[in-house]
């Protein structure tokens, strides 16, 4: 609570701020930099949310299903399918299992081999789709049993597909966080540079204030308030523009590629609204640090 009160006191110093002359170019540059950084930050946030959604979708869609592929000599195929279904029916952790029809298999191969596929003329294995129960099944135990009952059956529990996809999504998420951290660090650096320049340009003002009896907190307040408000205003404009840009991005639906699905959904739209406040905090801390460092050289 005392930290909040301190922050409020630092930002309410209108009298202190008036003591420092306004510098148009520094003000405009700070606002522009904050706006640009907020714009990028909102996009990084959109990337974060999108990767999270994609990772969840991939994980949930592939996690609850498995496939048994049956490659058997002609004449034994139907018998092995029946044996596999019988094994699956008795396996705990499997809620349902069904053999895919020729039409369904043709539909799966259509993107690669085209429509009107003569499936009967090709050595295409039969597929059995498994839907897992909530606890999942023992994949290794099932493999052993399938090997005994249907030698041509191979269980694919999607682990080898799922793992790299989830890892890729996690990496993208990490990159999103890294981008946000880099943006915050860049903004801190820019505000520090601008504040240092303003402090150097107003060295004489600071001396006069100190000689008139101003405490360090008063002088620091004169600069922090100004830079905090500039960063907040700039970041607010940047964030609003970025939100508008994200909102008008085309979204062809779930079937579309990952990047065309970049954006916010539902409550996620509140997240970018925190960006201007985060920018203000970064600017406040950067300016405070620069001002405190500058004051050390003035008695």
């Amino acid at each position: 609570m005392s930290t909040i009160a301190h922050l409020a006191a630092q930002l309410s110093g209108g009298d202190a701020e008036r003591m420092v002359p306004r510098t148009g170019i520094t003000a405009n540059l700070t606002m522009f930099a904050a706006g640009a950084m907020a714009f990028l930050c909102v996009f990084a946030l959109a990337l974060l949310f999108s990767t999270s959604r994609v990772a969840e979708r991939w994980a949930s869609e592939l996690a609850n299903t498995a496939t048994v592929r049956i490659s058997a000599p002609a004449g034994q195929e139907e018998a092995q399918v029946a044996a596999v279904l019988a094994v699956l029916e008795q396996t705990p952790g499997i809620s349902s299992a069904r053999a895919m029809s020729d039409d369904e298999q043709a539909l799966l191969l259509a993107p690669w081999l085209g429509p009107d596929l003569p499936l009967a003329d090709l050595p295409v294995p039969r597929l059995v789709e498994i839907t897992e129960a909530s606890g999942g099944f023992d994949a290794e135990g099932l493999r052993l049993r399938l090997r005994a009952e249907a030698p041509g059956a191979v269980l694919d529990d999607h682990t080898r597909w799922r793992a790299p996809l989830i890892e890729a999504a996690d990496r993208l998420r990490s990159l999103g966080w890294l981008a946000i951290l880099l943006i915050a660090a860049s903004m801190a650096a820019m505000v520090t540079l601008a504040a240092t320049a303003a402090l150097a340009a107003n060295g004489q003002v600071i001396e006069v204030l100190r000689l008139a009896g101003a405490r360090d907190a008063f002088v620091v307040r004169a600069f922090t308030r100004r830079f905090t408000l500039r960063a907040f205003t700039g970041a607010m404009v940047g964030a609003v523009f970025a939100m508008a840009a994200v909102a008008v991005m085309p979204n062809p639906g779930a079937a579309a590629s990952f990047f065309s699905g970049l954006g916010f959904r539902g409550g996620e739209w509140f997240a970018p609204l925190f960006v201007p406040f985060a920018a203000a905090i970064v600017a406040f801390l950067s300016t405070r640090l620069a001002a405190t460092r500058r004051l050390r050289s003035i008695r």
Binding site: V208, L211, R215, D216
Partner: protein, 243 residues
């Protein structure tokens, strides 16, 4: 309440007690030694002149007194406290008890004259609007009633010096230190500024004026009991009848 009552109040030091004391203070600019082990005590309510040739160190001595400079050796005590042990906030509070008239006035040119005079009130966290009446009275007292909304660059030399004096006394400090307060003004204005400083001393303020204007010193000695200190070859001496 007239100005005499208003700016003469809040005296926190007893007349005769030492408000500022220098003990064996030395100061050098690079290889050039300006002071060597000088000592000085300013009793509350006293009136001192500090004189010496240009470059002798009058301004430097004043800067040591209001702690803008640190001595390389020796000790400075403000209001009975060793300045070396003061935190930055305590230095700021001590300065609120010292009114300073700088040689170059040191105004904030983007603010009005009234805002510059009110600067010590503002930095001390006082409600300037509530003290507007006192402000106007003080500005009239120094003859700047009509210049309240002007900016410092619009003032003449004499007006700047009077505005600096008004700023120095707005917080009713215990001590007023003035560095060449009549340096840029004509005889008539310097007489007027001296009268203001003498009046402040009569209100109980400790006054120290650094000047090389011997005429001003003679004029003051006719009105008030003033001691004259002279810096010579890095030492501080009490000047005698040779002035």
């Amino acid at each position: 309440m007239n100005p005499r009552q208003r700016w003469g109040k809040q005296a926190e030091t007893k007349r005769g007690s030492r408000v500022i004391e220098l003990s064996n203070v030395s100061y050098s600019y690079g290889d050039r030694r300006l002071f060597s082990e000088i000592s000085l005590a300013l009793p509350a309510g006293s009136f001192h002149f500090l004189t010496g040739p240009s470059g002798s160190g009058k301004t430097t001595l004043l800067k040591l007194l209001y702690l803008e400079l640190r001595p390389q050796a020796g000790q400075i005590a403000l209001f009975g406290q060793d300045a070396a042990g003061l935190s930055r906030d305590q230095v700021a509070l001590a300065r609120q008890r010292i009114g300073i008239v700088h040689q170059d006035c040191r105004f904030l040119d983007h603010l009005s004259v009234a805002d510059n005079i009110a600067l010590p009130l503002t930095v001390a966290g006082r409600n300037v609007a509530a003290e507007r009446g006192n402000m106007n009275e003080l500005m009239s007292w120094v003859g700047l009633g009509a210049q309240a909304t002007s900016t410092p660059p619009q003032l003449s030399g004499g007006e700047r010096q009077r505005a600096a004096l008004a700023r120095a006394v707005i917080l009713s400090p215990d001590v007023v230190l003035a560095d060449e307060p009549t340096g840029n003004v004509d005889w008539e204005m310097s007489t007027r500024l001296l009268s203001l400083l003498v009046e402040l001393n009569r209100m109980g303020k400790t006054v120290l004026i650094a000047t090389h204007d011997l005429h001003l010193i003679r004029q003051a000695k006719a009105q008030v009991s003033a001691r004259v200190l002279r810096i010579r070859e890095g030492k501080l001496q009490l000047a005698g009848s040779d002035l």
